[in-house]
């Protein structure tokens, strides 16, 4: 596999603010790669640097091995799906999709045919004559996709494309996007602050915090083996133990993380560690229930399937014993 996008020690500063601070990143060809992080973490700036809307203050950007650090957007073989779609209000849907072809000088008949094929790809055939203002949010989203895909870019950049959609539609579009990416085989660079979205769609994820990358890994590795306290807390729910408690359960000096679903209410068996605490609250989440437990001043969350054990479980206020396998603990670096 070759490298589609490569960032080498890239920084983008606005005055004293370091939006992106010395990032190195390598995205493979054909990958679904997510940039995940809270707002202001630098993930969108990173995407804009790849698109060419921003130029790096320092560092280099390579696209398919070619130096692209100072290329303007219109000379880069990447296309962007904008957060609010950025459809041209004065053009019809079909003209929007055909726009990139038209500025390239593709003939009218060809661009009409290709734009219609692109609309077909996103299941919008027949709506070409409408104006963007006459479409629903989900439909606009698809037009934005078609407009970018019609140019057959080697890299597609998506800036929180599902952010404006409601939950149901968002879940549906997640599946469609993933399917689309597999079909067209284009590299997707996907910015999101939704860890669930990133976990379910991505081949690999880069977790951003304060303009830096905390960890780059597959979703499974990111969830199972978070490297830092920040990643453990941002990706899924994590119980992070530190200080004396961490020393006692793990024997090391570093904070440790345990996922809620790996803890059970019991005395520790062989190969397990155990703590005692007090149950504070029980929150019902449909398929699971979450138990909030206080252990030596630290709040821990335990997730149980809402079947037998959860219903027969302890009640708030009662003392409880928690146990988890040694292997469930992941040693973290403090950030």
């Amino acid at each position: 596999m070759s490298t589609a996008v490569e960032l080498l020690e890239v920084s983008r500063h606005y005055g004293a603010v370091k939006a992106v601070d010395g990032i190195s990143l390598s995205i493979e060809d054909g990958e679904f790669f997510s940039l995940l992080g809270p707002s202001g973490s630098g993930k969108t700036t990173c995407l804009r640097l790849i698109a060419g809307f921003e130029l790096p203050s320092a560092g280099r950007i390579l696209l398919h091995g070619q130096e692209a650090s100072s290329l303007p957007p219109y000379e880069r073989d990447v296309n962007t799906v904008f957060q609010d779609y950025a459809l041209f209000p004065h053009l019809s849907v079909l003209e929007n999709v055909a726009y990139g072809l038209s500025v390239k000088g593709v003939g009218r008949a060809d661009r009409q045919r290709e734009a219609e094929a692109a609309l077909d790809l996103v299941a919008l055939s027949g709506l070409g004559e409408r104006r963007p203002g006459q479409l629903s949010g989900g439909q606009r989203q698809r037009v934005a996709l078609a407009r970018a895909l019609v140019l057959k870019p080697r890299v597609l950049l998506l800036d929180e494309p599902l952010g404006a959609l409601d939950l149901k539609l968002r879940e549906q579009m997640q599946t469609e996007l993933k399917g689309l990416q597999r079909r067209v085989g284009i590299t997707f660079v996907y910015v999101t602050h939704d860890q669930g979205e990133a976990l379910s769609m991505s081949d690999r994820i880069a977790v951003f915090n304060n303009g830096r990358i905390e960890q780059v890994d597959t979703p499974r590795a990111l969830y199972g083996k978070p490297r830092t306290v920040f990643v453990a807390g941002f990706v899924g729910t994590a119980n992070v133990l530190s200080g004396a408690l961490a020393r006692r359960v793990s024997g090391g000096d570093r904070p440790v993380s345990i996922r809620p679903e790996l803890i059970r209410f019991a005395a520790p068996a062989g190969g397990e560690v155990g703590v005692e605490g007090k149950l504070l609250d029980v929150l019902y989440h449909g398929p699971t229930s979450r138990f909030e437990v206080e252990v030596e001043g630290t709040r821990l969350t335990v997730a149980l399937a809402d079947g037998g054990e959860a219903r027969a479980g302890p009640r708030p206020g009662e003392p409880v014993r928690l146990a988890w396998p040694r292997a469930a603990m992941v040693e973290l670096e403090a950030t």
Binding site: A51, G52, N79, T80
Partner: protein, 319 residues
Amino acid sequence: MTLPAASAAPPAPAARRGPLGVLSSVLYRRGTLQLLLLLTPPLLWFGVVYLGSLAALVWQSVYTFDDFSMTVTPALTWANYRALLHGANLDAVLRTLGMAAAVTVACAVLAFPIAFYMARYARGATKGFLYVAVMLPMWASYIVKAYAWTVILAKGGVIYWLVEKLGLTGMLESVLATPGVGGFSLSTSHLGRFLVFTYVWLPYMILPTQAAIERVPENLLQASADLGARPVQTFRTVLLPLAFPGVVAGSIFTFSLTLGDYIIPQLVGPPGLQIGTMVYSLQGSVGNVPMAAAFTVVPILIIGAYLLLARRLGAFDAL
């Protein structure tokens, strides 16, 4: 079937509030009444004073003017409009149209870069300064500005001095010798009149254009670049179409203000009447109000046709 429902509405708890409170809740519940009260004064003004005088104007333009007795009789005739299409009258109309078109194009070309800079780049104090700089001349008396230009353009004035210093006197003279553009001196040339009009109406073009450019979202320009459009293409296919309604709005100002102006043509430029000066002299010294009214209808028709054309061109599609 709204009436029975409205009359069946429960009475307001008047005991708790004074008459103003009762009035408020009545107006709140009867939205139409509120709207009616709100709109009656402006509608009266617009309907009676504005449209009424316009109708009177159009009506008088078909009255008859007797050349011998110098009196107006309310006998309806098309003679005034027929006279518009002849000789000096037609010349004046065409001359004015040409001037208005030239001034509008010049204002649009000058205003767009300034408006673009104000809308996209200027921030904070710079932006405030530019706003003041554009609007300050509008606060100064129009007459004073027009007179000031007669001095600026006069022989021995600052422009002649500058041209001489630059060694371009020959060039200026050949420009002034061009028929349709030139004249005896700058201050009595079409070129001079054009310069003054362009100066006076420029703010009316800058402000709407600036507002229109400001309304174009930045990410549309980025999306265009992202899709491979070079800056010139983005300007032509995205920014210009979306900002065009603003330019059209500005051009209506510059065009109609030039069409109707009667002061600047008296002070600057060659002899020979424009529509404005024609109306001025017809209704003033001659007393031929019907003919003056007919002249006044011309710009109205032209602007109407212009708006239709602009709509046909899609200038208002993005509004």
